[in-house]
């Protein structure tokens, strides 16, 4: 198994800023209080990260067999 290509592709390094901005902006349009905004943003950030990671894992597993 060669996992090197996963880490060689630096395009994924740009992803965190996208997740942070979408989580914060979306949450701030839902709520007015900072506590609610931050907790909602953390929830959305974790959901999106988990979703994207699961897609990455599935694609990686598929790539092993194709």
């Amino acid at each position: 198994m060669n996992a090197a290509p996963l880490f060689a592709v630096s395009i994924y390094l740009h992803l965190p800023i996208l997740i942070v901005v979408i989580s914060l902006v979306y949450s701030a349009t839902r709520f007015e209080r900072w506590g609610n905004i931050i907790s909602e943003a953390v929830r959305w950030g974790l959901r999106m990260s988990a979703f994207l990671c699961s897609i990455g894992v599935v694609l990686f597993l598929i790539s092993l067999f194709i």
Binding site: I11, H14, V25, A28, T29, R30, F31, E32, R33, G35
Partner: protein, 185 residues
Amino acid sequence: MRDNSPTPYSYSPWAGFLSFLVPGLGQIYQGRVGKGFLFLVCLYGLFFYGMALGSWKNVYLPDTASRGGIYNPWSLPVPAANLYNRLQYAGQFWIGAAAWPAIWQYINYDERQDAGPIFGAFERTPNEEELNRLQRDGDKTWDLGWVYTVIAGVLNILVIYDAFAGPAFAEGEQRQKLHQEAAPA
């Protein structure tokens, strides 16, 4: 950290327009300064980060429809066909004033020149050769960049609505007030 800034109770078209102009400006105008700056930093940050990823050449509106043929198969009005051929700009447009130079460049485009008036090459349609080079040598960052700019523009629609009508969920005193209004007499 509690924000005691006022929440708008009625619709505010002017604040909505200000947030369209510059993300968060409507909220700052309403006194919701913290949120306003959050929107400003996040959305301009994302938009210009996306532009930088694309070598500052992925926000533009090209004049392709005037070539006819496959560029305007349904004989749409030229501006509509141009927008259809570059749908990314329909999303980027909502970031507000930061995307307006592209319209200026579109109106004043002269393919014999290397740069347009006032804004130079900023948000100007790249020529075919340059576009090919950016996409060939850019390690996909040119495409990733326009995705970021489109997401920033579309997120600003939520921000405009927040300035226009307030946050989606009522909180605290506002929630109590709504409950009292909804309760049977």
